[in-house]
Symmetry: C2
Subunit: 325 residues, 2 copies
């Protein structure tokens, strides 16, 4: 509970910084939607990790606040643009930007957020600014690659588990790894510490995404905050569907193949599919993948000095394992 | 003619650099459209100006090639996204990215180009990388602001000439100014030289945009390469329409107001509108604005040493005045 409180404190620290960051209000069609998404909250995972990584190598969180804000703003850029591409109507309980305004406004608001993310990052006071900016930039490019694969997979019949893992690493893992590495650089961490924290980020990011897939199947609907089985209804090629497709036989296999061919199923078939995910061991495979990732992530922390921040990173990894939403 | 040859040489130098820049080919849905737009050519104005600015303060163009590529890639990012927002079907004689693929592909290809633009810029070898990146970033933000104003103006009844000029400065002037300033920094120019070249860029960028408006009305259709009067048919609030609206009286004024209210006119009315642009002096006002901008831009070059590159910048400004397309 102590860690959770600290996590929330760090989140508020970021929120305060973000709330004073965008000073302009015009053109309104640009800054209203940009502020709208930044103010909507969210878990603030990436910026909190930047602060923790900085502290874990002996730095002060104040030295990393600009970069932390940059990571969060960058994340929101991806959300706005991904929501357009995915035709998503709601996000964090509110209409998405392209729904509340329109696609043009959403494209441009996303673009300016990417610019603002660099503005925040470049306020960092460090001799390593070129390296910092390059790491950030390679992250931007990889996130785009991840999203491109994600969209490509939607219309492909076959996606292997390796391809799926590559996609989520690029789409989610990379930016969490960037957050950790950027924090470590700003805290003047050693090369070994940086590499370990980066690796922690990749693993935690991957686990987070597989957990997302898993929660769609096994979560408690009330705690989850949205309907269970949404991915199944949409025919989304998740860790579970890909694994179940490899393992299922007979009638089960044909049903899953039909699901892929038709790009989804009706709601009343969700329970049948869930049972296949369980009986084929796909659910268990996902649980093992997550547990392994988390164990490996925590292993990385051993090269760091024993500190409150290191413990918090360890707690954070465990929290992902037990999260319900 | 000598200068034109040199301009083309510099353009080829940029093209060669760009052609080796994107090494990845997958995900195809990302890199095919990104390469498609970069390979389509274009005037390469911004990167050539980066090289000229660098040389004009005594630097070598090789030192500025990464930043020059960054500016050109950034420009192409704005083209892809603007074309989606403007529902433009063709660009440089080929289908636009969202027409050839779809809007999702175009959004993402634009995004990755912005990342690639930073990657190119950050390859610059300079102690001023933080300043360079910040200037570039403020340019990105201003371009977004300019495009937001442009879209807002489409649905507004009244736009003042000052508002219009603010919009084109942000949308076009800023990035040309950024090109000049970045080139001057990479050539190790003095603060005075940098300020002068930046100012040259702002003025030339503004003149370029007003000339664009003017060509839609007075160009020779064959040389222009597209139909004359396109802006009029679309009811676009150009320098000419805004000025003519201020000055016209009686029947002429009512016709222009109707054009704005209805968001355009039929083709057969284009000649009538052109005559109003001429009789109210709107065409002359645009010509004066351009001539003044160009004269002021050339004035800026006086703080520089007399060199081939300075002469080329002077020639370039004059070329804008006389361009037919």
């Amino acid at each position: 509970m102590e860690f959770l409180q600290r996590y929330k404190q760090y989140g508020s620290f970021i929120d305060e910084h973000l709330s004073t960051f965008i000073k302009r209000t015009i053109p309104r069609s640009l800054y209203e939607p940009a502020n709208y998404i930044l103010e909507a909250g969210g878990k603030r995972i990436r910026p909190v990790l930047v602060l923790c990584a900085c502290e874990a190598v002996g730095g002060k969180k104040e030295d990393a606040v600009h970069a932390a804000a940059g990571l969060e703003i960058l994340h929101n850029f991806t959300l706005i643009h991904d929501d357009i591409m995915d035709h998503a109507a709601a996000r964090r309980g509110r209409p998405t930007v392209h729904t509340k305004w329109d696609a043009s406004v959403a494209i441009l608001a996303g673009d300016v957020l990417l610019g603002l993310a660099y503005r925040a990052l470049l306020q960092s006071n460090t001799a390593s600014i070129q390296e910092l900016s390059s790491i950030f930039t390679e992250g931007v490019i990889e996130v785009c690659e991840g999203q491109a694969y994600d969209k490509e997979f939607e219309t492909r019949r076959r996606v292997s588990l390796d391809e799926y893992l590559l996609m989520i690493r690029k789409k989610t893992g990379t930016m969490v790894a960037v957050a950790m590495e950027v924090g470590a650089i700003l805290g003047n961490g050693s090369a070994g510490q940086r590499a370990a924290l980066k690796s922690y980020g990749e693993l935690v990011g991957e686990a987070f995404q597989v957990q997302d897939d898993l929660l769609d199947v096994v979560a408690d609907e009330k705690q989850f905050g949205k309907a269970i089985g949404g991915d199944i209804v949409e025919g989304k090629k998740t860790f579970l569907l890909i694994t179940a497709l490899q393992r299922a036989k007979g009638e089960d296999k044909r049903l899953l193949q039909k699901l892929v061919q038709e790009g989804g199923v009706s709601k009343r078939k969700v329970d049948r599919i869930r049972r296949i995910f369980l009986s084929t061991g796909a659910v268990e495979a996902a649980e093992i993948q997550i547990a392994n990732d988390i164990a490996k992530a925590k292993e990385q922390l051993k090269v760091l000095n024993d500190s409150e921040s290191t413990h918090m990173l360890s707690w954070f990894a465990d929290m992902l394992l037990s999260r319900k939403s």
